[in-house]
Symmetry: C2
Subunit: 401 residues, 2 copies
Amino acid sequence: MSASAAVNLPGHRPAPPPASATQPGARTGPDSDPSAAPKLKGSAQLNRWSRARAIRSGRKLDRPVRKSPAPERPGRQAALLDGLLSGTSGDAEGSAGSDGDDDAEMTATAGKQIYMVSDGTGWTAEHSVNAALGQFEFCLVDRGCSVNTHLFSGIDDVEKLLEIVRQAAREGAILVYTLADPEMAESARQACKLWGLPSTDVLGPITEAVATHLGVSPSGLPRGAPGRSFPLTDEYFKRIEAIEFTIKQDDGALPQNLHKADIVLAGVSRTGKTPLSIYLAQKGYKVANVPIVMGVELPKTLFEVDPEKVFGLTINPVVLQTIRKARAKSMGFTEESRSNYSEMDHVREELDFAGKIFSQNPVWPVIEVTGKAIEETAAVVLRLYHDRKQRCSMPRISKRY
Amino acid sequence: MSASAAVNLPGHRPAPPPASATQPGARTGPDSDPSAAPKLKGSAQLNRWSRARAIRSGRKLDRPVRKSPAPERPGRQAALLDGLLSGTSGDAEGSAGSDGDDDAEMTATAGKQIYMVSDGTGWTAEHSVNAALGQFEFCLVDRGCSVNTHLFSGIDDVEKLLEIVRQAAREGAILVYTLADPEMAESARQACKLWGLPSTDVLGPITEAVATHLGVSPSGLPRGAPGRSFPLTDEYFKRIEAIEFTIKQDDGALPQNLHKADIVLAGVSRTGKTPLSIYLAQKGYKVANVPIVMGVELPKTLFEVDPEKVFGLTINPVVLQTIRKARAKSMGFTEESRSNYSEMDHVREELDFAGKIFSQNPVWPVIEVTGKAIEETAAVVLRLYHDRKQRCSMPRISKRY
């Protein structure tokens, strides 16, 4: 939520200046050279890749479900692998210069390298690696260990894939891949084996499990592949609507719409209402958040809506002060202008003020956000939300596909 | 972006009504009964679970890195497993009633069941399952196959875990789990084996690969576990700031701030600028989006900022008309009020108008969003964005941890 919550009436948002207003200091592109545009499209390397794509296109659909390694490697893959090993193939030459650049980049950064390769968006690989790295926070935070991740997404032909694996091997990295195309996954597996690169296939095992469960073969098509286009489902429209609703309700705006929200969040400034609202909106929930500001009356509607959809957020005062100080600094607040926003007595008083409101509304669950990432608080909110909806033995989030 | 973009001047946002305004139709909680609150806290089952938690608490930290199955099962686990198998343990009795409820729920829904269990947020399991299901869109969309997923997050003791696995077995479901606690993961593995339940460990393999790579043992602590609290890193503050910035800039608001954005998106109404902006903001990028509306002058600043950070969005006119019709319907627009918003000639003209602007700014990449999910377009934008920043041989997104 914006710090303005601490000074404005909930429901009021500072009116934006007219569209005509411009910023004299607006930076003009240092390299506005139009020739930069073609660069993105027509390099020799990219042309070679699209040729490679052309060769393979149309062959994706009739691939079998990926099983254990195919008895013999396809001839072209073998040639590529051998070529890369001996460093004599056209691909190896083509990428020699670029490897130089990559090395330069790498030597600049310390720590272990984790390469992530995907023929889709790469978000699953990134998400999984982040989750795994969470298990090493204790040494990542104090720099006891240090990691650099490199995500390569939309890698849709074997040449590009092998160039990346080769680069990873030269940097002593590990490879994490999500490759929907079985040939690509097999190539990654073999290349890593050949070059002694530890690798993890994030998508393969779970896709195979689902395929067996459904008795249907996976398409083998990565996201964005020709032949696999995103359907405009009700789910899609629902999600967009939730995001737009949530943005409009942010920071106490339009309190008359609280009854339209699936979830209403209430808490003092810097309890993370806005990022939490947005995170939940991304999951398809219409969220409204209401700032609790000492001395400011809360919108009547907050007490008129179904109390089972209202959630209070609270936080440790010392941590809140730290966050508010950082906020005040980043907003360039002077001591005068923001006198007590991050002042400890005020912080405590405001949290007490919020606490009183929460205790007057015992149906609202009060969630302690201290030391929680947005994702964690979101998990708690949704667990409670679905438990109240479904009244099942154990809180669960069920979806139909 | 909101449909208001099609009628308002960019930079103007309808002023929210005063906080005092209330909605007569505002729904009052049907079950505002305060007694609902205790329900969430003090049920016998929850008390049993917290006792179980208490028993195990403090033992998490000194667990070894998970290796291949432990030679012998801990006695308590074995007892629980056997008890559940014979259905005679206190746990089995305790959950008998609830299983009834679950069955009722299940019989109501057709299709295959996928159970997801996590001792953390469960988002990694959910994300991976969604990615895997993407491989089966071809039969999910036309209901040729049908899937129900059930996410159980924050499952932090063996009793709860085994109750879920048992329920999954009775429904012929498969289990996908992300369990940071090695004892929990081992229990899941064994329970699935005992009950012949296909299961996939999403987090284990990648965590082990990273542990070996770093030469450090994982903490074994799930998110939100005592002893593992989320650090207030610069990354955290950067992300919050990006989200707040992006919300404030939405739909052409504050064009004088375009120079502060990392990424600027331009496109006609319903090309998905707002959800895309929010998705990118979640990843830490400050995004501003500028609606292109026929007959409305674009803010000067759009042409003054670094053109390398501006991205144009375009879409197939037929698809756009479909989306706009759905939008107009959900907004309850009458034919009169929205006359030409979703009218084909107007849609084509507006896309041509946008196309002319794009061709006058050749440095802006123009991204075709037809049939792309927000995540896919985001992947394309970030690939280009980082390629332009890093100028490396192959577009990559590198991060430091």
